[in-house]
Symmetry: C2
Subunit: 365 residues, 2 copies
């Protein structure tokens, strides 16, 4: 039916979701944060060096506004060459002309873009057992923001750029009792499962939490061992889905958001309209052999519509883009979800998107 | 034609403006800031005491989100009793269901609402000759934000809450060579023209500027003797009006914004689509006998559509609201412009608006 869309699992509400979404125009809401977790050796390849990784999120969103970063000299690259997935994001946004709304959920250095600021400071390493504070305030702000944005009656694509975020995602999933060790995706060629597992176990030990702590006080557990993006996007999605279709644009990190939504639904008694919730990632995450995206989706998101955009860079004229096929970059900044939104709404084909991606890459290099 | 709308002056583009606006839904974008100028004795009555006045802007926008302020215990009042005009704003927003977007242009204490933050710190008193810095960054951020919000194809109502703002408005107007001394409106019963004139003259002396300085470097002159709201709203209006109708919602302070737009049009060579610009204030500002709103409008805004909403509280069942008719409160937080938007778009009559205002007042007191 949609040749560029992969159904990751059985999706009971797929047709409902597409019908609701196609009636509307969209909005892109992207939450960024920096966490010291990303500075652990071997955790992330989002950004060429650990030093530059502190500015990856900021550079990503600056690129969306100015077609170049301002905080650092050039767009974040994987150490091995391929550019940040923000290039896919930007291409899809250009073709669809969606409004871009940035939420700073805690960047130590602030991006030079117009943005909602929900938290002034960056996040600590989760191994401290105390990653951030004011989680309830973050939740309330995101919830109230969603109330305003739902008035546009547009579908909303929720993205993120949080270096180190697959580790904080693993931390949240396992804290919720999901057996996710060794199954999450990564921005690295050799998925650093060992490092991630060790970091998460140290975090849970430091925070003195067990499998059930999160059901007693979910926000407080996320404050200890997760990240602020998880709370913000969960609150946004839960409120927005009452009125409009929501696309959680990402892979592992957005699965963690759904994981938190599950907990909050039980704990806070929210009624979540799962028929209006989808998660869309890239084919590279879906096919990642070092992870188990399908299995985790079935476990965590049985009711949400989970899809992957069939992006394929093997025929690109640029070798740096071809490297995406080697698994060097897989997802980020809402790339998979925005591509998927365009495919579902019939706004562009993969060929048209690829043309715009290559045009942007050519200007960049 | 519109029984609740007063044409303040000859408006060449009135019909064009209304036609463009009626085709769309709207957005409310409100910029807040605090300035030490407001702490000068006798300058402002926005807030019951000088101490509380530091939190008037924050309390105003908190009320829009929560129906109560969080930073201070109750909604700002004039020392003599009538509540902040935010009650009119809130009533109009409730009836029209417009999305509310807040921009913090420099509040010393941050409001507890989801908001764009363009500047971290509050503004100095203009008598220092150095009210704030980073004016070019504020301009750029506002301009880029307007680019995103123009994509909604909605008309935009630009409001403000800046205690002391009529004094910084007078300062900017006179710095642009407009003979505005003794002609601006005020939140006080006895308009404090003498105090305002003295403060402005001290500011201009301290900043070492004359009648023509602003034409050499407008942003730098506003940094010295104006306020950040003026730059932000001028940049927003200039960019938005390329694509959508814009309502500058306010009296004297929005005239100062138009004054700056005139200067920037000449200095920066921007082409401003004046046919898409209106300024809408309240009847209380229009009829203020201690000021000359009509004369200043003709001088500053010959091409913009300048209107006043014919609000009249004399028949209110609440005596605190009746005090509006004594000139104790006149305008603020976009009140006149939002009422006017509703009247022009046929979304409510004055009677319906009044009913909602009284309902809110009753809950508040």
């Amino acid at each position: 039916m949609f040749k560029d869309i992969i159904q990751v699992k059985n999706n009971p509400y797929f047709e409902h979701f597409v019908r609701e979404m196609k009636q509307r125009d969209g909005i892109f809401l992207c939450t960024i944060a920096t966490t010291k977790t990303a500075e652990i050796e071997g955790i992330s390849a989002a950004g060429a060096t650990p030093e530059l990784r502190r500015y990856t999120a900021q550079a990503d969103v600056e690129y969306l506004f100015y077609e170049k970063p301002l905080t650092i000299p050039e767009i974040p690259k994987n150490p091995l060459g391929p550019p940040s997935p923000v290039i896919i994001t930007k291409a899809a946004l250009n073709l669809m002309k969606l409004p871009i709304i940035i939420i700073d959920g805690g960047c130590e250095v602030k991006a030079k873009v117009p943005q909602y600021i929900f938290r002034q400071k960056g996040l600590n390493c989760i191994t401290t057992g105390n990653a951030f504070d004011d989680g309830e305030l973050l939740f309330m702000q995101a919830f109230k923001l969603a109330e305003e944005f739902s008035k546009f009656s547009r579908y909303v694509v929720l993205g993120e750029s949080v270096p180190g975020g697959t580790t904080t995602a693993l931390s949240l999933m396992t804290a919720s009792g999901i057996d996710a060790f060794g199954r999450v995706s990564s921005s690295m060629l050799e998925n650093a499962h060992d490092v991630k597992t060790m970091v998460v176990k140290r975090a849970h030990d430091a925070a003195k939490i067990n499998n059930s702590s999160i059901y007693d006080d979910p926000v407080s557990v996320v404050e200890k061992i997760g990240d602020s993006m998880q709370i913000i996007n969960a609150a946004l999605a839960m409120r927005l889905c009452n009125d409009v279709p929501v696309i959680l644009a990402g892979g592992t990190q957005m699965l963690a958001v759904i994981c938190l939504m599950n907990v909050l639904e039980k704990f806070k008694g929210y009624k979540i309209k799962w028929e209006n919730i989808s998660l869309i990632t890239t084919r590279w995450v879906f096919e990642d052999k070092t992870a188990d995206f399908k299995g985790l989706s079935e476990l965590i998101a049985p009711k949400a519509t989970v899809l992957a955009s069939a992006l394929n860079f093997s025929n690109s004229q640029f070798s740096a883009l071809q490297m995406y096929e080697k698994g060097l970059v897989k997802e980020g900044v809402g790339a998979g979800g925005l591509a998927g939104a365009g495919f579902l709404a019939g706004r562009f084909s993969f060929g048209e998107l690829m043309k715009e991606i290559e045009r942007l890459y050519d200007k960049m290099s």
